[in-house]
Symmetry: C2
Subunit: 397 residues, 2 copies
């Protein structure tokens, strides 16, 4: 039995490893409310192009598999609706008598939702706009952390743990370029499985702290002289003291998306530039750079069990909350006051205006500028988020 | 109780995710023979520099953890012993009264072992030289496959499965540059979790098949026109019809190791060059290139349970065999005649001369040149090697 209540779900922005957990959470909960559940293909783009799909008849077995699949199962978009685009969306949603619109996305998507929600109010069309957060960058304000971050952080941590043992085997300098346009959380996560002082990563560079080439080279040299090797995690978004991207200085042809963001991933140029400087200026042996790239947000097989659970539960929370309160909101994870054990998650509802389009960066207490490394405070904050299902490691040398 | 029999273990070449399984297998078995077990730090380099470590007293608990740790727990080397180097090694081994020397490594390491073994014969020093194979490249002759390949193949397969769903979400062209200097096995492994015709990877380019830019661009265009997206796996070792590396053509400053191998990994230049050509010539949207790099051989968390088991068991087999037969040999995995279910592993002992320094490439039956894709024969060959512990996946669109 399907009621007359029509709801719509869409997914926007860069996908994550658990964005489909949220999708499935909404579907399951709205099924309980007997809603007619539609999905739009490729986010808001699917609305204006009238590409909808019914989600009521997907079997529980398939829902379970979809939830565990990387990428946005409904497709995603980089479109950012302007005034005309929004009016078009509203016309179509009204036509379809949609009463709730769930948009699973990051800060750009929440901003799209805010615009749509405001236009709906202006036209007196009763539409509940519900933002379900996701982003591997962990850069949403009013949130302790964001679904999607834990799994990406686990991937980056596991990758650097492996790299540590690889570089221990064949010593040299290793640079790993990590995703993160403005916030250094994911780059900082490279430290999460480090055990000994000489373990990699030895140095971490984040967008929040101005990148200065001479300081960088001196720090690399100092670590190499001390340990005979050096593993470095560098954010793709590192900037100089004038907030100019280092990437922008070296890439000849840049590419921008509809939100005005420069393309940072999908190219090895930053890593090649920095390893080139190390080779040229420090003349160290075996200098290698990897750009971690898209696998950070979609690698099949390193999902954090905590992240997975939260991505599912925040959607169920949002669905329940939306049924009780007839308002628009952005679902969130309440900030912990202390990073004490045991770890607990509390969900909350923030206003769209509070969250939309804003960017959270790493708090100063998480990063030691002098050491170019994270603090214990960051480790206490982030360690619970990657879960516990990680192999123990040990080397002989 | 330790007998007077002294044995030495070393690890050489690029580490893998299961090279320590083999190390631990030897230690466990030689402990049963009451041998005095030494390890040399950083392969043959540790022998001439007199860097040895006793391996008898490592607890079983630690051995278990070491076995599951990526990288070479004893350290590795790229040194290739020449005449003088070998004489130095023999002098030290004889001094230490070593009767068995286990070298865990690939084709370069087996060649080092062959040289040492021949010099030992010349000097009438009774030394058993035992090669335990490992390489993610899967390019050892006389072997069905090589320990280390299955786990690397699993990582590459999981990575491309995730990428497939990511590119489905935000359509475009994705290029993933995969390790493999001469053999395309690992690049071919990108196909192992592909399910539907339109799933990525859509195209696979290997070193064994001459790379021709126009054919490449036409194939990319054709796939993009058909599916609205294109995922491509490309070996770092792709060559033109004159066997000249494409990488070599575009890298200004190349780096060579002691074996005369050019540095292919640790730079994003090949990916950037190829994605640049696609952008320039085909003018397609969202063209992204990732160079998979070192995580392919050391990512913590994607070990194939079959690979793990074989890496352990081949070492135990080699140890047992060496105790029965007083000869030098290269332990191997017997080639399957048919790739039938259920999968079974049979170990064998090959002569060092048969294996050393030779390179196996992909059989022609594994690759369809016209389609630039693997055949079912390859899938049947490689699928059992990545094991079964992989999440099921499903998308909606």
């Amino acid at each position: 039995m399907v009621s007359n209540k029509n709801i719509l779900i869409a997914q926007g922005g860069g996908p994550t490893n658990v964005i489909n957990q949220s999708l499935v959470g909404i579907i399951r909960q709205e099924k309980k409310y007997k809603s007619k559940i539609l999905g739009s293909i490729n986010g808001v783009n699917g609305i204006i192009n009238n590409r909808f799909i019914s989600l009521n008849k997907i079997s529980e077995n398939d829902l379970k598999t979809i939830a565990n699949t990387p990428g946005a199962a409904l497709g995603s978009t980089r479109d950012k609706p302007d005034k005309k685009y929004c009016k078009e969306i509203l016309k179509i949603l009204e036509n379809k008598q949609i009463s709730k619109f769930y948009y699973i996305g990051g800060n750009d998507s929440s901003d799209s939702l805010r615009i749509i929600s405001e236009y709906a109010k202006d036209t007196k069309y009763k539409l509940q706009c519900i933002h379900i957060p996701k982003t591997i960058d962990n850069d949403l304000v009013c949130n302790d952390h964001t679904p999607g971050f834990g799994s990406a952080a686990k991937y980056v941590a596991q990758l650097f743990s492996g790299i540590n043992y690889d570089v221990k085997s064949l010593p040299g300098v290793y640079l790993g370029i990590v995703m993160g346009r403005h916030a250094g959380f994911l780059t900082a996560a490279s430290s999460l499985l480090k055990k000994e002082n000489d373990d990699g990563p030895n140095l971490i560079y984040i967008p929040e702290s101005p990148f200065e080439m001479n300081t960088f080279l001196n720090q690399v040299k100092s670590i190499f002289n001390k340990y005979g090797r050096c593993v470095i995690a560098i954010s793709e978004g590192i900037q100089d003291k004038n907030k100019k991207l280092i990437s922008q200085k070296i890439i000849k042809k840049t590419e921008y998306d509809a939100h005005g963001n420069i393309q940072l991933s999908g190219t090895g140029s930053l890593g090649d530039y920095l390893s080139g400087e190390i080779k040229k200026k420090l003349k160290l042996p075996r200098v290698r750079a990897d750009t971690l790239g898209y696998p950070q947000r979609c690698f099949l097989g390193s999902i954090s069990e905590i992240d997975k659970k939260e991505a599912l539960q925040i959607a169920i929370f949002a669905s329940k909350y939306s049924n009780k309160h007839n308002s628009s909101f952005s679902a969130g994870i309440l900030e912990r006051k202390k990073f004490t054990v045991p770890y607990r998650t509390t969900f909350t509802a923030n206003s769209l205006e509070m969250v939309a389009g804003k960017t959270k960066i790493m708090p100063q207490s998480f990063y030691n500028i002098k050491k170019s490394f994270v603090t214990n405070s960051f480790l206490n904050y982030a360690l619970p988020l990657i879960g516990k299902k990680i192999s123990k490691t040990k080397s002989i040398i």
